[in-house]
């Protein structure tokens, strides 16, 4: 699983990065799907609007892969819901995701640095043209 994450780290589509986001939220505290959708949409790091189908599909996939585990929790008031929590395997996977995202952040920062230099050179060139 971790090898798969690293091998695809060149570009992380929303469908995959949502797994990292859900793992982090579940690392913070166990939650059921309904609450996770609400929490995910309140974060500043969500990749896009998280709809119910995408979140539940990813939860089932990660449950199957052993990154998270779940059980039915009977509500003290209100309905029983499937409660998800992070496994040790999931914690390891989250660390790999964090490394991968850090690499991407560095690449993006390098790109922005190069771009800003390019923008300065463009501006200088334009001034040069105006002077002549």
């Amino acid at each position: 699983m971790n090898e798969v994450i690293l091998s695809k780290s060149e570009l992380i589509p929303i469908e995959r990065s949502i797994q990292a986001e859900l793992l982090l939220l579940l690392g913070q505290r166990p939650s059921h799907g309904y609450e996770l959708i609400q929490r995910l949409n309140e974060t500043s790091f969500k990749s896009g609007e998280a709809d119910a189908a995408t979140v539940y599909r990813n939860l089932r996939r990660m449950d199957k892969d052993g990154l998270i585990k779940s059980h039915w929790e009977v509500g003290e008031s209100g309905p029983g819901r499937r409660l998800y929590e992070l496994t040790i395997h999931g914690e390891e996977s989250l660390k790999v995701w964090a490394q991968c995202i850090a690499q991407q952040k560095e690449k993006l920062e390098n790109f922005m640095q190069a771009y800003l230099q390019f923008e300065i050179s463009l501006s200088t060139r334009a001034k040069g043209v105006n002077v002549t």
Partner: protein, 274 residues
Amino acid sequence: MIGSNQTLRILHAGALERVVKKCLEHFTKQNPGLKFELEGVGSREGAKRLLAGEEYDIIALADQALFEELLVPKLVENYFVFAADQIVIGYNHSSRGSAEITSKNWADMLLKPQVTFARSDHHLDPCGYRTLMVWQLAEIFYDKPGLCSIMEDTSFPYSTYPKSLDLAGALSKGKVDYAFLYSSQTKQFGLPSIILPAKVNLSNPAYADFYNQAAVSLEGIMPSKSVIVHGKPIEFAIGIANGSEYYELSKSFIDLLTGLEGNLILEECGFIPC
């Protein structure tokens, strides 16, 4: 070994008919000889039947809130959310205007002369009151004051279709051009549909506060007394009736529905397993 005289009685939302039948195909293999009685109804009507004294072992409803409002704790102790869905506009290939209708112009298209559309009975069926909520939310979302009232006045009389399953059948037979249904129903009937914005279609818990603005007045336990129901994300739930003669069997059935096999069946039928 199951005795030949054992009969498990299941009251289910009409929208869950295919799911329940498919689950029973699997369950019967594990429990040969077991008999079943199935009753598909509008979920609000179903909850009221229980209140009136009808006896069932398993209750599967299209709105989890009905358990809390009408059944817990007297008739059901615990209930579990097992599937989610959204409201869509189903149509068929002979529906008038089907080549032009989109998720942006649907309100204008449905209100054109000669175009017919329908919803199920909100007093009996959650899909009916959820449709009224969708119209109210659309009024806010698209900033179209009065839209909900116009839709109510223009649609088929609500009592025509007691439950959404009846309406889906009518749509597939071409008796109506457009119908407000669950997404799962249009998939099961092989019907095309218009997907509504997430802020309108009651699908996303992230918009629970926005949905809560919608409110519909329904007949209460006593027909003379009404209750106000607010919009919520669509969730289906299941529980075992207190005093069920077949508690363990009922629990096994719910375990199947909420387990891996059930999840596959729910997905096949167009639901989102929770």
